[in-house]
Amino acid sequence: MWTKPSFADEISNEMYTTGTRGLNCCIQCATCSAACPAVDFMDHTPRRLIGMINAGMRDEVLASNTFWTCASCYACSERCPKGIQPSELMYVLKRYSIWKNAYRNDLVGPEFSRRFVRTIMRTGKSYEPGYAPAFIFEGGLQGMLREMQMGMKLLAKGRIPLMPSRVKRVENFRRMLSRIVPLEGIE
């Protein structure tokens, strides 16, 4: 008899498609948490998050900032004795929460990722002055002024170009991407 896949199944299946092991073999040893340089800023450690997924705590997992606090440094994946790749899990949770439109609105990560991807889809190259200013207000007025100061200094040293660079065959580039995903969906 068919039963709806559980949240833990969904996440583990996503992990299999990226070529890594599922979460059901986790032994809760916390090597991942110990290896993580950003763990102090996560509301659940990677070990606990895996435990919560296996326990079916979908809402609590999606409300956590843990996967948006992952710096993608792969220290956990390097060390997991069971061959799970927790860094891939964090990507999976980011994508899952964006698909399901179920991420925390107070986090910058999702919107930043979207803007970054949009910039590249238009021009083929990254240009920080194009998308970073949208987030400059995050640090309040003080933070904004400091960020602008640094920008001016980098500009004076010739380290920020005034014009964004773009790929030459941008039409071909965009046709290529449209064969992977519908561009309207992202732009």
Partner: protein
Amino acid sequence: MKRYAYFPGCSAETVSASYHLSAVETGAKLGVEFQEIEDWNCCGATPYSNIDELLAHSLCARNLAIAERDGLDVVAPCNACFKNLYHANEDLKHDADLAEHMNFALEADDLHFAGKVNVHHLIHVFVRDVGLEAIKKKVTHPLKGLKVAAYYGCQLVRPDRHDGFDPAGPRYFEDLLRTIGAEAVEFPYRLRCCGASLMIGQRRAALAMVRDLLRGAAQAKADVIATACPLCQLNLECYQKDVNREFGTAYEIPVLYFTQLMGLAMGIARKKLGIGTELVSAKPVLDCVARKPAAAGAAPQAKVGQP
């Protein structure tokens, strides 16, 4: 003359132009030519994988396919670009369905991925393909007395690659620094992430990660931190002031690219290596070394961590 298809990455045109300059200059001295990949595009960095994995693969596939046309192995100077290109290349080589999907997309730009080339990081090209012996022969101005913290960063050594480099205890960066006459200090944080991808999304976490690295370098009494990645360089150098403000510290440690240090040791002019565009000036420490050619003795004093 060794030739590689060179993938500069987006930051080479902006904040890390000095890395690009110094890589090309030192490469030329060592008989290595970096031929820029024609009409390359962004590697996708980390945000792409947050949105869609296939999309992330397609960006890398295009760059790889262009390099394949010229039959040249790909070199990336940035840890993040390297990691993305390396893994996309391996994934496509070992997954015929994925490669077919990508090739359908690549047709739109008259390109085809066949899996004929390999991907390397710039520092690997220097320490493995060129070799420390060959580098040593070109050293005319050894950086005697300069204490350097070799900072590998995270994505240079991880994850799960099969290119012969030890991911847990690499020594090649330190060996390279010794080859050019510098002193490689013990730097326990050398493989720890700098938090670059969190600087916009999770500012406090990123600053704390930078602080830990600066503290480690100061405790190791490093005059300068050497990096092999534009994101690490930007993060460690340009956010030093923010770290100091946030945590009440007073770090002022210059952060240079390993190619700039190599270039100096080979007698290339500072300007040609892009030295002078730092926000934390490297001039005081470098002047100190330059004044004492080959003379042993007192090391130049950095402003932090020294009595």
